[in-house]
Symmetry: C2
Subunit: 566 residues, 2 copies
């Protein structure tokens, strides 16, 4: 009885998962794995925590939860998988079902036959094509050797200033790591905001938080040229002409799929340059599977392809590819919804599903959103703030997306929302959700449910919302005259206020102070408070009293990312 020959190309996340799963479901199979790097099954997502000193033991990045190092001995003895490191697969012969690989150390080439091939070649950092890019001191952070390099910088304590190019998820994690390493950091982002997956207003709040930790952020600007001295980086010149002195630059402007090997042998490649796969993670060649950062997958909301290079998905995809390669197509990976989260200092920022912009781009024409700001726990539990935005389809009431940031428990919020969206649940299904409640964990009416309540109020026409961004642009930028009403208590107003011409009337005093409001019942009035719950209650009262154009500034002062009077 001869076993099936399965070859896996790639040894980071999807590859080892696919290989181990294939062997586990078919012990007779002969499973070989080829890996370019010297290490196997590295915790790539952990590199910033090693660099920042959250973890000081490099071995932990390549060890099982029990602390066993995942080297070639581990793979053969515990997993039954024959792994080759520092070995690159240089060509695939699909007709002969054969690959040729080359060892980096001795340059020896060898050929191996396969019945099924699984391509898990991952992704590579995008490198901006600017002069000076080859200077010493400029590095991406994708490989363990990059992490080693940056960790050494931390340990040597010589470098004082760094620039992080790109304000995405990895960029910000790196920014925190470098800051923790005692390095002065500036983040440079081409777009008008960091974390482009977030709505503008929420991204601005994250930006404020990062700045408050002593990190500088430059938006709407990119690197024009790197300048050095004796081969080492000295400063960066931005497109705006601005110059930033620095001895280190970390590039994190995104990754692109390593699909060349697949493309070279004629496998279908998608619009994002990722390998095309079906729900079995099978490429256009039935004997070739692919998984991880090198593929494109289905977006379960839009049913369009997307590029989603996330570590968790790589593992799930690898698992499916491995099982199908071993047993024939029997399990599926249907796609994902683009869920992401990151921690930046004391803040977390997460998203799942579509942002408002992404929903519009995907063809949803009638979108409704709601912003919710508030504490994550009851007052007596020393709560932390959460600010979120929920996005729904007005026609079907389906939840399309959810974003949440703040010092509170964002992870629970995004987890909850991601299941709601995956389960194609509607607004009515979440209004009375039975989530776990106890004071150490959430409010009696959980933040996510409260967000749904606000959305419901808007859908029923009980509340007309206006975003902080629109208020800011109209009042502070365009100097429009708008009647703004701050419903917070006098003491709250004394401590902190926007100072953009608002009138302060505490909610409890409103019914006695109607005379201070515009006599024209058609005049626009914008109410708010700390989180805009009292703002909403004020609007209800004013509507009842005949004012016809009352709006609520969603999220209130807590969601206001612009400068304040105090």
């Amino acid at each position: 009885m001869k076993g099936k020959k399965i070859i896996v190309i790639g040894g980071s996340a999807a590859g080892p998962k696919a290989a181990s799963k294939a062997k586990r479901v078919d012990r007779k199979a002969d499973v070989k794995l080829f890996q370019r790097e010297p290490e196997l099954s590295m915790a790539t997502c952990g590199y910033p925590y090693y660099i920042g000193g959250v973890c000081d033991d490099r071995n932990m990045l390549i060890a099982t939860p029990a602390g066993v190092k995942r080297d070639i001995n581990f793979f053969i003895n515990a997993k039954g998988v024959e792994a080759y490191v520092e070995t690159e697969v240089v060509s695939i012969d699909r007709k002969k079902h054969k690959i040729v690989c080359k060892n980096f150390n001795n340059a020896a080439e060898a050929a191996y036959e396969y019945d099924k091939l699984i391509i898990c070649t991952g992704s590579a950092s995008k490198i901006p094509p600017v002069p000076g890019i080859d200077l010493k001191g400029i590095t991406p952070l994708t490989k363990l050797k990059d992490a080693d390099y940056l960790r050494k910088i931390r340990d040597e304590k010589k470098i004082k200033k760094a620039v992080v190019v790109g304000g995405g998820l990895i960029g910000l994690e790196t920014c925190e790591a470098l800051k923790l390493a005692g390095i002065e950091v500036t983040v440079v982002e081409m777009l008008p905001q960091i974390l482009p997956f977030l709505e503008f207003d929420l991204a601005k709040l994250v930006e404020n938080h990062i700045r408050s930790k002593g990190v500088d952020i430059i938006i709407n600007d990119g690197v024009a040229e790197f300048f050095g001295e004796n081969g080492g980086l000295k400063y960066v010149k931005l497109k705006s002409g601005k110059e930033l002195s620095c001895e280190l630059a970390v590039l994190s402007i995104g990754v692109s799929p390593n699909s060349k090997l697949a493309a070279d042998v004629g496998l279908d490649i998608g619009e994002f340059n990722g390998i095309s796969v079906n729900e079995y993670m099978q490429t256009s060649d039935p004997d070739v599977y692919a998984a991880g950062d090198c593929v494109e997958i289905n977006n379960l909301i839009t049913n369009k392809k997307m590029y989603a290079p996330f570590g968790d998905l790589a593992n799930l995809e690898g698992r499916v590819a491995g099982e199908n390669a071993a047993l024939g197509n029997c399990v599926t990976f249907n796609g994902a919804i683009r869920t992401g989260i990151c921690k930046i200092f004391d803040f977390s920022a997460g998203c799942t599903g579509l942002s408002e912009t992404a929903a519009k781009n995907a063809g949803f024409t009638d979108i409704i959103t709601a912003v919710n700001a508030g504490p994550d726990k009851p007052l007596f539990m020393k709560p932390n703030p959460l600010i979120s935005k929920i996005i729904a389809d007005k026609n079907t009431n389906a939840i399309l997306g959810y974003q949440c940031i703040g010092q509170g428990d964002v992870s629970r919020q995004i987890s909850t929302a991601s299941v709601i969206i995956t389960g194609k649940m509607k607004l009515d299904d979440i209004i009375n959700l039975d989530l776990p409640y106890a004071p150490p964990f959430s409010l009696a009416i959980d933040h996510f449910i409260a967000s749904a309540h606000i959305l419901q109020n808007k859908l029923k026409g009980r509340m007309i919302g206006i975003s902080v961004r629109e208020v800011y642009e109209r009042v502070a930028v365009n100097k429009e005259k708008v009647f703004l009403l701050d419903m917070r208590g006098e003491n709250e107003y004394e401590i902190m206020r926007l100072g953009i011409g608002e009138v302060s009337i505490p909610l409890g005093a409103l019914t006695k102070r109607f005379s201070e409001l515009p006599s024209d019942k058609n005049a626009e009035i914008i109410c708010f408070c700390k989180v805009s719950m009292r703002g909403y209650e004020a609007a209800v009262i004013l509507n009842d009293k005949g004012w016809k154009n009352v709006k609520v500034m969603e999220g209130g002062v807590m969601a206001w990312p612009y400068s304040r009077e105090k």
Copy 2:
């Protein structure tokens, strides 16, 4: 234009919510609220945290998130609700649509008419009918005055020893609070385990954790009699004859619905003695609604009635009752799934949906479960343990229940599972769930998804599980001879081991040491490791080598709640 008259009885959670919502959706309505207690809208769930000193400001228990005290002025000014405190509704005249109430201070009676009535009379502590129950020093913890009493005890530092009667959710929160107050605590529980909503094995692990904090727990025993001296509690005699000296006893053997007022006027009462309501929170009288701890609600999984006195549900129910009372039936509360969570010292314990026992009782005949133990985060992030059990219907693959305990992020796990269950999602829907992943928050394959993977492996017949409890009973209690195989590394085995006759063979060495295994290929072999991932991998290898009766001890050493050799 005369407004609708709405009367709300009860001012704790559901009542204020119903009253505020009614007024908000119908500003013309005349909304009155009657409350027996001196305070309104108290954070009852917060009492243990006030007693334990997590929060020292009593006002925070009756304040809005902005710190405004929710008294009668607040209700009239901010909410438009006329609230009466220390005023009990003593009778209802359904024909005349009238209630009579009585003020506790001046004994004055007054009558008020209603168009719609909302009963939110809450629940009362069950009091065990044992001699000595009236002694000073014995108290439940349901009212703010009980919290005041216990907080005073904390502050006075006179009392040294206390007994908590009842090891449920509130009992354990109280136990932590008293311990934090410097009091020696013993918990007495009638049942064979604390936290009866949890599976036995998980409850035992929580028990171990609480004991490790210096709290004594006595199970399978109840209070027979309280004994005092000069009217004050001196000791407690248990049914077993055991005597515990103590100056304080907190009763937390559960609550029962305050449904007498409703029953007295002929409203339908259910099998749990709660007021019967439909999905509109409407009682058998169309002009009377009810919400909160005084009602029975629908279990969304079993479609049977249940009694679920939880603070979060009270708020959601009150919101629905208020809106329907004001506008006519237009919104529904369809039920809940019995989700609960509590924090006990560094542990959290949560559940959602049906336990295995509850599922059997509800008529599910073909149940499959899986236990998962492991770290909540990657090794390099200083992870905390999570141990969970997932319960599914083998016929439909629907997820019926999920429980999780440990020092890790239980709240996210239970939130995720509660949405899965509410959304009636099946196993296939969660195998590749797109949950938020980053190292500070979860494993690349989240604990919940991994639990689903184990369940899938069992369903596919790839793994035969055996519970720690069954292994313990067979090996340690019945002294059965079973071949047990610990697959952990030698160093792990040196540091900690069960010592119940197991053979230690590290997974990586298994293929070279088959000779140490039973030669009879039909012999039962039970494999395990720290969490039983390696146990599972060993079972796969042994099955392949011809052993036909190989089982995996689910959850491994981490899930073992019994004593160990070391």
